[in-house]
């Protein structure tokens, strides 16, 4: 579904990503892991079009390397931000409607109602501006907004960060439900090894902008090089 070939990004003298190549198959839930500053969010920015990359990015057999951000969203790439970025002064429903009309190219209130229901935001749909939501609700809105664009590939940037363990488990179940319900392919940036092991069928590890491991979570987290970069200790 998504293919990255020799993708590199440089910010001035800083090499943020260097020669990243891997593919994502339709229906996969892939975990993108690595320490802070490894290049995970930059990679999301490249795929979604916020950052121009060198190399080649293809989505559903079509090269999208030079495609602008809004066209990638319309092609079926949805994403969330690590710090939720709702359209603050709009209501939850307006947020989703804008996403659906411009991202999916149609207006379907029934589908919006379904997304609100699944993301447990129905009660907040028309109440206040999105800026009045609590953090957990903002995270759900972030995903709901992406779902409203009817994505085929969903990029989730640390959506579980800041949640306590019970909320995290509930959110994981929700992600599985979304994966099944909407037939999504998901790439999730997450630090927690247990979460990646439980949720993902595959993990890709970045460190200092380079891909250092790609495989099942079990295999990846047994790799001493990964554990050294990830936890700072070879035998962790």
């Amino acid at each position: 579904m998504l293919r990255l070939e020799d993708v590199s990004v440089r910010f001035g003298g800083l090499i943020a990503l260097s020669g990243i190549s891997f593919s994502i198959q339709k229906g996969e839930i892939l975990g993108l892991v690595g320490p802070n500053g490894a290049g995970k969010t930059t990679l999301f920015n490249c795929i979604s079009g916020l950052v121009r990359a060198r190399g080649r990015i293809s989505f559903e057999e079509r090269e999208i390397t030079a495609l602008p951000l809004h066209k990638r969203a319309r092609a079926g790439i949805g994403r969330t931000f690590q710090i939720p970025q709702p359209m603050h002064h709009l209501t939850v429903r307006e947020n989703l409607t804008v996403a659906q009309v411009f991202g999916a190219g149609r207006s379907d209130p029934a589908r919006i109602a379904e997304i609100l229901d699944v993301m447990e935001l129905s009660g907040k749909a028309d109440a206040d501006a999105a800026s009045a939501l609590a953090l957990q609700e903002l995270k759900r809105l972030e995903i709901a907004k992406a779902l409203a664009t009817e994505p085929k590939l969903l990029l989730l940037d640390e959506v579980l960060a800041g949640l306590e363990s019970q909320a995290k488990r509930a959110f994981m179940l929700k992600l599985r439900e979304l994966h099944k319900l909407f037939g999504l392919t998901i790439v999730i940036v997450e630090h927690d090894i247990e979460t990646i092991s439980n949720l993902c069928s595959r993990a890709v590890v970045l460190n200092f902008g380079q891909l250092i491991a790609d495989g099942t979570p079990e295999a990846v987290f047994r790799d001493p090089q990964v554990m050294k970069s990830y936890t700072g200790a070879a035998d962790a």
Binding site: A73, Q85, P86, A99, G103, D126
Partner: protein
């Protein structure tokens, strides 16, 4: 393509606009004197310009310091169409709006900028047009200006050239612009534009082509400013670059829109009327030279009392009196 809104109903908005029209017609029936009617015409011209500024500022988040350029281009284009090409004045006015919109195409690279950078770029742009109008003497008459061009015509026995006729025409155009503004704001495009004003990346990532939407808003805003420039030109009957492209046409709509409440439709309209009448009837008599300083003080006071302008203040007063009635 209408977007649902939690904050306002279309009936209320249309009711308010109908109220604006009725209120606006009152001076005609009350037999307001020529001088006061003249002031109201100028205030309404400013209302239209303030609406065009607020359209860009509220829907798209672009703060313009250069609306004088569109106003001036519209003024000259309409006068020249009518004087040199013999185009009927009522056709020349919308054509002038189109020329003003076309002139805004040169500003498209500035849409890549945001905040103060956009504001400064558009300010510089407006100066270029003033210089062009001064130097192109073969077309514009240069610094000497233009004087011999047709005024507003007679239409079906109604003389638009007299003050009452001109007042009615300008009021009608202001009401039309207000309706267009409401329709855009209530559409999905309007909702997306409001979102762009807050967080452009958040909207682009869900498929909104922010550059295209902002471009349409800039062109529409320039068109409206050009139309009011044209109306003004045919009402006053003379043009010179320092007047048509004066910075006052950039600054006054900002003061009026912010004073009235630029996030509402009626805020800029009533803000312009209050500000203009205050300036002409009060400030000028208190300080004949440099009277605009009082406008600054008035605006600062309003922002301190009600950051969202007169519309917020009026809303607060209504709520308070409503609460008092309920308590009684």
């Amino acid at each position: 393509m209408s977007a649902p809104s939690a904050s306002s109903s279309p009936l209320r908005t249309l009711g308010l606009i109908a109220g604006l029209v009725v209120l606006g017609l009152v001076p005609l029936f009350m037999g307001a004197g020529n001088y006061f009617l003249g002031l109201l015409i100028s205030a309404l011209i400013l209302s239209g310009l303030a609406l065009s500024w607020a359209l860009l500022g509220n829907l798209g988040g672009m703060v313009s310091f250069g609306h004088a350029a569109f106003f001036g281009v519209g003024s000259y284009a309409s006068a020249l169409f009518a004087a040199k090409l013999g185009v009927p004045v009522l056709a020349a006015i919308p054509l002038a709006g189109l020329i003003a919109a076309a002139s805004a195409l040169a500003m498209l690279p500035a849409l890549r900028l945001s905040g103060p950078y956009f504001a400064l770029a558009i300010l510089a742009y407006s100066q270029i047009f003033r210089i062009l109008a001064t130097e192109a003497t073969w077309l514009t008459g240069g610094a000497a200006g233009l004087q011999r061009y047709p005024g507003l015509p007679n239409v079906f026995g109604l003389n638009l050239a007299d003050r009452a006729g001109a007042y009615g025409l300008v009021l009608l155009v202001v009401a039309l612009v207000a309706v267009v503004y409401v329709l855009i704001r209530r559409s999905h495009v309007g909702t997306a534009l409001r979102a762009i004003a807050e967080s452009e990346d958040a909207t682009r990532v869900v498929g909104v082509n922010s550059f295209v939407l902002k471009t349409w808003m800039l062109l529409l805003s320039a068109f409206i400013a050009g139309v009011f420039g044209a109306l003004n030109a045919h009402i006053i009957g003379f043009l010179e670059p320092d007047y048509a492209f004066s910075g006052i046409w950039s600054v006054m709509p900002i003061i009026a829109a912010v004073f009235g409440g630029y996030r509402t439709v009626l805020g800029p309209v009533f803000g312009a009327i209050v500000i203009y009448l205050f300036d002409q009837l009060v400030a000028k008599s208190l300080i004949p030279v440099g009277h605009q300083i009082l406008l600054g003080i008035l605006l600062a006071a309003m922002v301190l009392v009600a950051p969202n302008g007169m519309s917020e203040l009026v809303g607060r007063l209504f709520r308070r009196s409503g609460g008092r009635h309920a308590a009684a």
